[in-house]
Amino acid sequence: MDKSAASGYRLRIAHLYPDHMNIYGDRGNVIALRQRCTWRGIICEVVPVGPGDGVDWETIDIAFFGGGQDSGQALIAEDFLERQGPALRAAIDDGLAMLAICGGYQLLGHYFLTHTGQRLPGIGALDVYTVGGNVRLIGNVVVEVAAATLQTSVAPDPHAGPIQLVGFENHSGRTYPGAGVRPLGHVLAGHGNNGEDGTEGAVYRNTIGCYLHGSLLPKNPQLADHLIATALHRRYGNGALLAPLDDSMELAAQRAMVARLLVQR
């Protein structure tokens, strides 16, 4: 492990509305990012962003936006759209590494159409829209992701096989990706974006939206490292290297769930 390359790096992680949007263990993603930076000697600062807080998005390397209770989401939606929307959208266009899950994913899209016909706007950073459903889609999920989607170096191994991510979905919204995004992957088990087209999540530049709780990043270190590596390359140039970690415990948890779900089918 090249310690000299890893040390000296600093990353700032913005955690959007941690007091309102914190359901289903999504804060585990921030724990995972912070620990995986710390273990590599990358100095990592987590910036909580609450209602009314100003953010200088130029200084942010990774953003995380989790899901919330409906009441929590209602309390922050306006602040997010008006205060953060334009600058965050610009940062996403500029290549900000971002992960948004469930409610956060929906708010990055164009809009959420509720089953009563109400159209709740998002910031339109991702070319997706969401329609409220009557039945919640709940359960464990396996998503197969192309290796090229989750690269951790600027010269990825062309022979690498696809990666199977595991998570837990619990959503009533059906999200439909448009032409401006590509799906994060395809569901091998579970419902995914909408339960219809077999896709899960959406990727645009370095921003990923999806429905995977679990928490997602601790059990899927490939995705966690993809976000960290992307952020390092954007801040420090393509020469920035991500030191390897011993992920045997994380990968054992990932493999255990893949084995359980794919055998059941």
Binding site: D19, G25, D26, S71, G139, F168, K219, A253
Partner: protein
């Protein structure tokens, strides 16, 4: 006029219960209720109507089993052993089964009063069928989101159910939990609050997740003058003025004595009470406060309350001490983030107390057995592990064995909480996990087992197989 439908339901239900016990297919704690209700959907309503002193219901995310058991013990000491769903079956079918079990073949309840621990989601239906004289709502936290949905969904169901209760019903609410306390506004029923007044128990700047830290009336953040845990504490909304209501039953002073006990000083309208509770931790003290408030409302004399609680033993797996073949084992159910965080807090505070009082340079830390299952009764989503504060264990663990169907997930959780990887051992099946934990346990050290609900059943079965505890349904 004889109600033949009810008589048939009682006979069929009781027969099913007997058959289930004889075949030893486990407890028979709900099936008789299911059968009886199929024959007479009004069975529960009719059976509880024969209880001369009516019904008390206890619900809440955490502590309802222990609180209900405390109330049952105090009523029994008062000569009114209640009809009580003691085995923990707390859905409509389980409570119907309990009512059948306590009824004569003529369909009359033999106890004088009914006391039911009630599942949060099932509370509205059970309240409608039983017409309670007393309702105790203890707290509301995120729990099994895949099954229950959001905290707000449960709160909305409770609000509707409470609105139907008449002025003759007393509703006891936890003043410190804003999600519960806010339910007291605008009810016909008589509302009374209980709360912890001793603000020395406010946690520091805890990073714990709260589910209701925003004003239930206007949505602005509450200002907490004391935050005990999660969203529980002394709060006020500076925007609209909504605030913690004044408590009638007040835990004025609470002194915790490590993993053993606590001293409680309470005041209530017309009296005061001091007692030593032989259970550890802040949350058990608050369980006792709720139980005392309920019993005072039900007319149990204070001296009897004190005498009973000072001898109280914990419920099934709720801080239960077991002699594991000569080695001390303490079993504490964990099932959701707040309960798990509070249990971990209690254990780590225990460690501090032992270090301080014995002045022993342990350097070794806690010996733990954590068993996480994701079966239906546990919640199939284990995301909640990431909302619990396992971070307190970092640097305080000598060895932790993780077991259960999601052992691998728990191992990852502990790694990211700061527990050294070499101190984490993954052992899938309950027997092997227990053996692994015990074989490394130094002489005189306590093993703390933290199982989820079905993992507790597995662990309990394993302990029973070794003759260390009785099977739970004989409890």
């Amino acid at each position: 006029m004889i109600d033949f439908r009810l008589l048939l339901a009682v006979t069929a239900g009781k027969s099913a219960g007997i058959a289930s016990r004889i075949s030893r297919r486990g407890g028979g704690t709900t099936m008789p209720g299911v059968i009886a209700r199929r024959i007479d959907p009004g069975a529960l309503r009719k059976l509880v109507a024969t209880l001369p002193q009516g019904v008390a219901l206890v619900s809440g995310t955490n502590g309802k089993t222990t609180t209900t058991r405390m109330i049952a013990a105090m009523l029994a000491a008062d000569g009114r052993a209640p009809l009580h769903n003691r085995a923990g079956a707390n859905l409509v079918s389980g409570i119907t089964a309990t009512a059948l079990d306590g009824a004569s073949l003529a369909g009359r309840s033999q106890a004088r009063i009914g006391l039911f621990e009630t599942d949060e989601a099932a509370f509205p239906a059970i309240a409608a069928e039983t017409g309670p004289r007393l309702v105790l709502l203890h707290n509301l936290f995120r729990d099994q989101l895949d099954r229950y949905g959001e905290v707000d969904t449960i709160a909305a169901g409770w609000r509707t159910a409470l609105a139907h209760l008449p002025a003759t019903t007393t509703v006891l609410l936890n003043a410190d939990d804003p999600a519960v306390a806010a339910l007291g506004a605008g009810l016909d029923a008589r509302v009374c609050y209980y709360g912890l007044e001793d603000v020395r128990h406010a946690a520091g700047a805890a990073a714990q997740i709260g589910d209701a830290r925003f004003c239930r009336a206007c949505g602005a953040p509450y200002r907490y003058t004391a935050l005990f845990y999660a969203h529980v504490g002394h709060y006020v909304c500076d925007t609209c003025g909504q605030a913690r209501p004044a408590a009638a039953y007040r835990l004025e002073r609470l002194d915790l004595h490590g993993a053993d006990a606590a001293t409680l000083c309470l005041t209530y309208p017309g009296g005061a009470l001091e007692l030593r509770l032989p259970l550890p931790g802040l949350y058990n003290a608050i369980n006792a406060l709720a139980a005392i408030a309920a019993c005072l409302e039900l007319g149990v004399p204070a001296p009897r309350i004190r005498a009973t609680l000072e001898r109280f033993g914990a419920a099934f797996g709720r801080i239960e001490r077991v002699d594991a073949g000569g080695r001390p084992l303490l079993v504490a159910l964990i099932k959701n983030p707040v309960g798990a965080s509070e249990t971990v807090r209690m254990l780590t505070e225990t460690l501090n107390v032992e270090r301080d009082t014995l002045n022993v340079a342990y350097g070794t830390g806690l010996h733990l057995l954590i068993m996480i299952n994701d079966r239906y009764a546990d919640g199939t989503d284990v995301s909640w592990l990431w909302d619990a504060e396992f971070e307190r264990l970092g640097g305080r663990v000598a060895q932790v064995v993780v077991g259960g169907t999601r052992a691998a997930d728990m191992a990852v959780r502990l790694k990211y909480a700061g527990v050294a990887v070499e101190r984490i051992i993954v052992a899938d099946d309950p027997a092997r996990a227990l053996d692994t934990a015990l074989v490394h346990l130094p002489e005189g050290t306590t093993l703390y087992a933290l199982p989820t609900y079905t993992a507790l059943l597995d662990l309990r079965a394993e302990l029973a197989r070794r003759g260390w505890v009785r099977p739970f349904w004989e409890d």
